[in-house]
């Protein structure tokens, strides 16, 4: 996949992974990996960026005797997902147009 495209999409992927409920680092990677390749380092950068952009919040909770960070999506994060969905509705209709043209 084109690098620029991938970078824009990964942010939304991470948001989608925590949209239905709080999640933690490893689980987010597990959820996203079937769809797009993401490394631990990349995830860290994305989480930091999303936190700075107020699209998620972080809290620490105890798990099996150690501390684990849980990420929680904010209203802004949900708005970003909606934005992504409408952007891609547009792109998909363009895609159908392109594919149709090719088949002519």
């Amino acid at each position: 996949m084109d690098a620029q495209l991938k970078r824009g999409i990964l942010d939304v992927c991470v948001l989608a992974a925590i949209a239905d409920g709080d999640s933690y680092g490893y689980k987010i990677i597990k959820d996203v990996k079937p769809y797009v390749e993401i490394s631990e380092s990349t995830l860290y950068m994305i989480l930091k960026r999303l936190e700075t952009a107020d699209m998620l919040t972080v809290r620490s909770a105890e798990h099996n005797g150690r501390l684990r960070k849980y990420y929680h999506i904010t209203k802004r994060g949900l708005d970003r997902i909606e934005e992504f969905k409408s952007d891609w509705q547009e792109i998909m209709s363009i895609y159908r147009f392109v594919v149709k043209e090719e088949n002519k």
Partner: protein, 200 residues
């Protein structure tokens, strides 16, 4: 490599980073390794999955502002004794002006490089002016029935247009090259300042 060895090596590699920021990143990767182990991976496997110490350090540095690293590096690591503070204050006319001079030189060098790029673009503009001039003169000569000189001028205009295209691509490449160079220098400085324990 065990989890503790990995984290210790990473910590040493990034020794120049502010304590709190480094701890945050170390705990993230530590947590990731713990989760992998919980899901059934062996400790060595889990560490390998994260990547090499070097690649993780590079990823962390690339996302970390250069200014914070420099600030951390020049902060005094222990309480300064009175005589040390006095010495620094008294000697400030010397080291402060040297420091300012150093920065002035570095900034001037950087501006000079961009000035060269600007000069290239000035050449590009003058080439375009030359093409326009030769075209006009060529057409004028031909219309004044001075056919041969006119054709020569039009030919020269054509040659100049070709050269202009080359200069254009040259300017673009040079500009991009300087941007890339700047990024490389920033990375090198970050590495130099942040990595006290790096293997040479």
């Amino acid at each position: 490599m065990t989890k503790q060895v990995f984290l210790d090596n990473l910590k040493k590699r990034l020794a120049g980073m502010p304590e709190a920021d480094l701890a945050e990143r170390l705990s993230f990767y530590g947590e990731m390794i713990d989760d992998l182990i919980e899901e059934g991976a062996a400790e060595e496997e889990a560490v390998a999955e994260i990547g090499t110490v070097e690649s993780v350090a590079q990823a962390i540095l690339s996302d970390y502002p250069l200014s914070k690293i420099v600030k951390e590096r020049i902060k005094p690591k222990r309480r300064l004794k009175t005589w040390e503070i006095v010495l620094i204050a008294v000697g400030s006319p010397v080291w402060l002006s040297l420091l300012i001079a150093l920065f002035a030189v570095l900034i001037a060098l950087y501006i000079a490089v961009w000035a060269v790029i600007a000069a290239f673009w000035a050449i590009f503009v003058s080439f375009i002016a030359a093409v326009i001039y030769l075209l006009i003169m060529g057409i004028y000569y031909i219309s004044a029935s001075n056919t041969f000189p006119g054709i020569c001028l039009l030919g020269a205009a054509a040659v100049m247009s070709g050269l202009t295209v080359f200069v254009f691509f040259g300017c673009n490449a040079a500009g991009k090259g300087v941007v890339r160079l700047t990024k490389k220098i920033a990375t090198a400085v970050k590495n130099r300042f942040a990595g006290k324990g790096e293997q040479k």
